[in-house]
Amino acid sequence: MEYILMIIGAVLVNNIILVQFLGICPFLGVSSKVNTALGMGAAVTFVMALATLVTSSLQKYVLVPLNITFLQTIVFILVIASLVQMVEIMLKKMSPSLYRALGVYLPLITTNCAVLGIAIKVTEQPLIAAHGFSILDSTFYSVAIAIGFTLAIVIFAGLREQMELVDIPKGMKGVPIALITAGILAMAFMGFSNLV
């Protein structure tokens, strides 16, 4: 039950893009087609789960016991950046078909603040109060958050595909109208705000 509530909370109530404003760059950049949006969503889910697993383990077994939590930002960003590089190299060798599908998005993810943001957020307070800080909970939560990311970016890409055909003022074209669309989408997501 706790896990179901956590998933609903992460996907709908605290949607990472529309409520927490993390990962806006890929949201605006890679959302012109539904297919690319799906690819980006899959790549983010993969990297985010892996990154949170590694960073939470580091937090629990290295940073806290050695009392060097002030190095958190530096350690996490280095781990995430090298992890993305490693995943890219491994995918290229082991599964070329998956690499073709996800490869182009991987370098973009290093500078994606969603991955670092969630890695830091899960260390701030326990996700389920009774468990304390747990690596399993953190990884689970990051997958749920990534599903929320995919949901938002796919809906948004669907809307933007339609927008291409509409005649709008010159200054509004591109990013401004995309932001206003996102605003209306965020209003729709506000309807979930008292769900959990």
């Binding site: 529309l18 409520v19 927490q20 404003f21 993390l22 990962g23 806006i24 760059c25 605006l28 002030f70 190095l71 958190q72 930002t73 530096i74 960003i77 280095l78 950046a81 090298s82 500078t111 994606n112 603040c113 670092l116 943001g117 830091i120 957020k121 701030e124 003022p169 010159k170 200054g171 509004m172 990013v175 401004p176 109208i177 995309a178 932001l179 206003i180 996102a182 605003g183 209306i184 965020a186 209003m187 997501f189 506000m190």
Partner: protein, 207 residues
């Protein structure tokens, strides 16, 4: 390029968040009040300035192949410093900016300036560039925050001048951020298009 131009190009013509569309996450997230915007702008400007200085000093030492990880470590060091300073001296600001202070590390503006400017230019030019871009970013944050705070909370920098029953709450919530930024950006582009059209007309007339 003249020194003045290096400093001022970030204010309007190459404004990082309104024209180049970089660093959107903090622009949307921390602009609920003008005080937050100033705090975030100052923190980012400091990191931008310091990382520009160090990177332009070390540009001949850092090997080209591993430059990005080196830049990230330099930037992350200054971000950690800012994070600790704000936590120590301004706990209220640290509370309201939350995770977005450590997230300055992945702000595209900082890494973008390191890659595009500081590793090619002299220390003095990099200082001007960092300052200019930081101030431009702060201006756009304050602009968005002012609109949101006045419409949503009826106040400016905490000074309440519209009674609370006339406030439009949606502007301080998530959707308001997207809407306000979208309209401000559209307005900026409209102004730039107008100016360019006029310039073209003049050139045609002169011919």
């Amino acid at each position: 390029m003249s020194k003045v131009k290096i400093l001022t190009k970030g204010f309007f013509k190459e404004n990082p968040s309104l024209i180049l569309v970089l660093g959107m996450c903090p622009t949307l997230a921390v602009t609920t009040s003008v005080n937050n915007a100033i705090g975030m702008g100052a923190a980012t400007t400091f990191v931008l300035l310091m990382s520009n200085i160090i990177i332009s000093l070390l540009k001949n030492v850092i090997p080209d192949k591993v430059r990005i990880p080196c830049y990230i470590v330099i930037i992350a060091t200054f971000v950690s410093m800012v994070d600790l300073i704000i936590k120590g001296f301004l706990p209220a600001l640290s509370e309201s900016l939350g995770v977005f202070i450590p997230l300055i590390v992945v702000n595209c503006i900082v890494l973008g300036r390191a890659e595009a400017f500081a590793n090619k230019n002299s220390v003095f030019d990099s200082i001007l560039d960092g300052l200019g871009m930081g101030i431009g970013f702060t201006i756009s944050l304050i602009l968005v925050a002012a609109v949101r705070e006045i419409l949503g909370a009826g106040s400016f920098m905490g000074w309440q001048f519209i009674p609370s029953q006339y406030n439009i709450l949606i502007f301080v919530l998530a959707p308001g951020a997207f809407l306000v930024l979208g309209f401000i950006m559209a307005l900026m582009r409209h102004i730039i298009n107008r100016v360019e059209d006029k310039r073209k007309d003049k050139m045609c007339a002169a011919k």
